[in-house]
């Protein structure tokens, strides 16, 4: 499928279809020590991982819900006892099939509709696909394997790259004690991607993973761990989607990125969760001296999202860029933003956030920029723009800035506006109908995001937004 074909595909058919549930193993609802032991045993994990899971479970039980923040989304419906924390899909090749053709037809069909194998053929260095809780397909082009690049699913990484995982997994970037859902994640994580790029290696094609939730009332807790050794470079892309079900779903992923001295990592994601999914993630990068971390994210779908990718600029000269877009339609509360800690001199960060709210949806930019004492000559620029379609919607902006160092340059700017009548009139007077005119304005509004993404994702993002807007205009 070329990108034009992708454009022509009926996006609704691509994302809203739903598969018959069939699984080899399904954990009991709820979260107990027993469940954790079963998951760990089923994955044949080393003892230390089990111990980490159990410790995280304890922390989860002790920690309060993040519901005392100003304007925080309503999480009262999130009852961990009601979710199924772990489902292993019914395939024989555990840990991922080598060839696409080895996958059960249903799963092949699912990912075909999402355009995954084509995207891989065309532009990617490697692809992983997660269905429910486990990676079902994993491939990496040989040329990268030869250079020592590792791209595999996390469960496999625990077995095959134990030392690396033991050192980095939820120890430095996202400890389970970070927040309640990081602790939950630490207890029942399953699947996800492991990317390791050796020193001085540039992976010049993106690596990609795709996650899909397909079962009613399940939780997905994939873990992504990216280690980029000094002076290496990699672009990792993640896509997520889930169709709509009646019971609520919980997605509580964890992403940890280690950007070593002089390395450059871009992490891009376009997420389109079903409208009953609670998307509560913790994503954090640690950037060493002269390293560059870039976050590009599109948050679509979900009932409520709380997601604030963060970067700790640990070494002098480290740089962080955030580009985010959020879209909230009816009944959705998308609370996203970015966090940056400037802990060293000469560190730089930029945050560019765009949000669109319509049909009673709420978007909120919630950000934190912290400049520590001693982080001299650091600079940060934050820009948030919100677009509102109608009067049922809400758009908030809550940036926080903690500045402990005087030799810095800090700026925050935010604007909110409606779709300009003049702009719509201008386009209509040139023969576009109202819907197309608004669609075009929105596309222009989000362009800074789409131009950072590979074409497949940019097209997908545009199509998703089109889909969201269909029928709601005019």
């Amino acid at each position: 499928m070329s990108s034009e074909d992708l454009q022509d595909t009926d996006t609704e058919a691509r994302f809203e279809f739903k598969k018959k549930e069939s699984s080899a193993f399904q954990a009991e609802k709820g979260l107990t020590e027993e469940t954790i032991r079963v998951i760990s045993e089923d994955k044949d994990e080393p003892e230390w991982m089990l111990q980490r899971r159990l410790r995280a479970l304890e922390q989860f039980q002790e920690m309060p819900m993040p519901d005392d923040w100003p304007g925080a989304p309503d999480l009262s419906e999130v009852d961990v006892d009601e979710i199924v924390p772990y489902i292993r899909p019914d395939i024989e090749t555990r840990g991922g099939a080598e060839n696409w053709e080895d996958l059960p037809e249903e799963i092949q069909d699912t990912f075909d509709k999402l355009g995954i194998p084509e995207a891989e053929k065309n532009a990617l260095s490697g692809v992983g696909a997660q269905y429910e809780s486990e990676i079902v397909y994993q491939n990496m082009k040989e040329q990268w394997e030869e250079k020592g690049v590792i791209f595999c699913d996390m469960d496999k990484a625990v077995q095959e790259h134990e030392e690396l995982v033991r050192e980095y997994f939820m120890t430095k970037a996202v400890p389970p004690s970070d927040n309640k859902f990081a602790a939950l994640h630490g207890a029942i994580w399953s699947g996800g991607s492991f990317v390791y790029v050796p020193e001085d290696t540039t992976v010049n094609m993106p690596v990609q993973a795709y996650f899909r939730m397909n079962s009613d009332g399940m939780g997905q807790f994939e873990h992504t761990l990216i280690i980029a050794e000094p002076n290496s470079e990699v672009h990792y892309i993640e896509g997520c989607s889930a169709p709509k079900y009646s019971a609520f779903n919980l997605h509580s992923g964890g992403v940890e990125v280690f950007v070593k001295e002089g390395a450059h990592v871009q992490y891009s994601t376009v997420q389109n969760w079903s409208k009953n999914t609670y998307n509560l993630n913790t994503k954090r990068a640690i950037a060493e001296a002269d390293a560059t971390m870039e976050w590009v994210s599109g948050s679509m779908g979900s009932k409520a999202t709380m997601l604030y990718p963060s970067t700790i600029l640990k070494g002098p000269g480290a740089t962080d860029n955030h580009i985010t877009i959020a879209f909230a339609g009816e009944g959705q509360d998308i609370d996203t933003g970015a966090k940056v800690y400037h802990n060293a001199p000469n560190t730089k960060s930029t945050i560019e956030s765009k949000s669109i709210a319509k049909d009673g949806g709420r978007t909120n930019y919630r950000g934190l920029v912290h400049i520590a004492d001693g982080a001299t000559d650091s600079s940060t620029a934050v820009e948030c723009d919100a677009l509102m379609f109608d009067n049922e919607s809400t758009s908030d902006t809550m940036p926080y800035m903690e500045i402990e160092e005087s030799k810095v340059d800090v700026a925050h700017e935010a604007t909110v506006g409606k779709i300009g009548d003049e702009d719509v009139f201008y386009l209509q007077s040139r023969g576009l109908d109202d819907d197309d005119a608004k669609q075009m304005i929105v596309s222009g509004f989000i362009e800074p995001i789409t131009e950072e993404l590979p074409i497949e994702y940019a097209v997908e993002l545009n199509r998703l937004i089109e889909l969201e807007m269909e029928g709601s205009l005019g």
Binding site: M388, T394, P399, M401, E402, I403, V410, A411, E413, A414
Partner: protein, 421 residues
């Protein structure tokens, strides 16, 4: 001033205050209700980020600090003949109906712990009443605090099509006796020798088509903890412009809020602060757009030096019915030292899409290029820096229409810069 008996925060104290002021029963009741609410209401909102509370108001020992029966102040309350500027006790006697209607109508006594404490215990105050159609200039209220604690209350009622300019200031009297300790066992930090507490509540009721400019200069001594809350309810076509300058105190929590309740009402909130030594300023500017075609402009500029710390929160809240809203906010902080800290949290809460809104905040230091430019023109470094800091405040000076306030603020900033090593 008695140091023998320290008044407790209890019913007897409240009754005595009310009795001394010869208050009617309803006002005593209001005070007693506020007193009993102390057990239930929260402290004022302060910004929290994970692991951190930006201003700690609960850490103060109010029982030790607060002694309303020993309150002493000297006060100037002057205004033109056509408006009434009355000490609170006199206003109670002469304008009971006016008070009954408006007292607590804008700043609800039970807003939080500190407003409830103020309502229960205030001993001094001013009522400014501007009748319909009257243009009143130059109302001045000066309060000199001469005791360990002081609770002050200001009510402004501007009737339809009236206008008034009010200048308030708070200072510590030079002859005020240093308060003696009411030390806890073990002598905790709060409520130690020399600490004072000042609380000021201001309510403005701005009638249709009225215009109120309220300037405030807080310059109490640096052992004083200050809580101040000013709120205005603005009716159709009305305008309330605030100027809030904070220079003194050990710690200040200041909130200035405008409720744009009538169509086409407007507000401007201009703030200035200068923190040095170990001063802590928590400055809030908030506007509630509750009606159509309302406009707000929030401008705050502040400097932090030495170990001083500033926390700024600005809120622009656009209600669902607030069609055609215009709302702008900007905040800039200049840091003069490495030990200082400046935190900022501008917030936009937008519920109506027919809105044009923006906010911005910056934190930085005196620009190196500007310094170079000045020194290359033979201005010595210190003078150059002082000129640039003064220049930084110009956008705030420009918003201050009252010349006296502008000059006072400017000269206090100059003093502080001169005193700088």
């Amino acid at each position: 001033m008695s140091t023998q008996v320290h008044a407790a925060i209890d019913e007897a104290t409240v009754r005595q205050i009310s009795d001394d002021l010869d208050e009617p029963e309803w006002l005593l009741e209001t005070r007693l209700e506020a007193l009993s609410a102390l057990d239930d209401v929260d402290f004022p909102d302060v910004i929290k980020t994970p692991g951190r509370k930006w201003t700690d108001l609960e850490g103060l020992d109010y029982d030790a600090l607060v002694d309303p029966l020993s309150a002493a102040e000297s006060k100037d309350q002057v205004g033109p003949a056509d408006a009434e500027v009355l000490p609170f006790a006199e206003a109670v006697a002469e304008h009971e109906e006016l008070l009954r209607e408006h007292f607590g109508s804008v700043v609800a006594p039970e807003t939080n712990y500190l407003t409830a404490l103020s309502t229960a215990l205030f001993t001094t105050g001013t009522v400014v009443y501007v009748p319909e159609g009257v243009d009143a200039e130059d109302v001045t209220v000066r309060t000199e605090m001469n005791s360990r604690s002081l609770f002050n209350y200001t009510l402004v009622v501007a009737e339809e099509s009236s206008s008034v300019t009010i200048l308030e200031r708070q200072e510590t009297g030079e002859d005020s006796v240093a308060p003696t300790a009411q030390r806890d066992e073990g002598g905790e930090a709060a409520g130690m020798d020399g600490d004072r507490y000042y609380s000021g509540i201001t309510e403005i009721v701005a009638g249709e088509n009225s215009y109120v400019q309220f300037g405030n200069l807080q310059d109490v001594d640096e052992s004083t903890y200050v809580y101040s809350r000013r709120e205005a309810a603005v009716d159709t076509y009305g305008t309330v412009n605030w100027i809030e300058c904070n220079l003194g105190s050990r710690l200040t929590k200041s909130s200035v809020e405008s409720h744009l309740d009538g169509d086409s009402s407007e507000t401007k909130i201009v703030g200035a602060f200068y923190g040095h030594d170990d001063q802590h300023f928590d400055v809030n500017a908030r506007v509630w757009h509750n009606a159509e075609h309302t406009t707000a402009d929030l401008v705050t500029r502040g400097v932090v030096d030495d170990h001083a710390r500033s926390v700024y929160e600005g809120v622009q809240h656009v209600g669902r019915e607030a069609w055609d809203t215009n709302s702008y906010q900007r905040e800039n902080t200049l840091m003069l030292s490495d030990e200082s800290e400046a935190d900022a949290a501008p917030k936009l809460i937008i519920n109506n899409h027919d809105t044009e809104a923006s906010h911005s905040a910056t934190v930085g230091q005196v620009s190196a290029e500007d310094m170079f430019y000045m020194t290359s023109r033979a201005v010595d470094e210190r003078t150059a820096r002082n000129m640039l800091v003064e220049g930084f405040y110009v956008p705030v000076f420009e918003e201050i229409e009252v010349e006296e306030l502008r000059d006072d603020l400017r000269s206090r900033i100059q003093d502080r810069l001169q005193a700088r090593a």
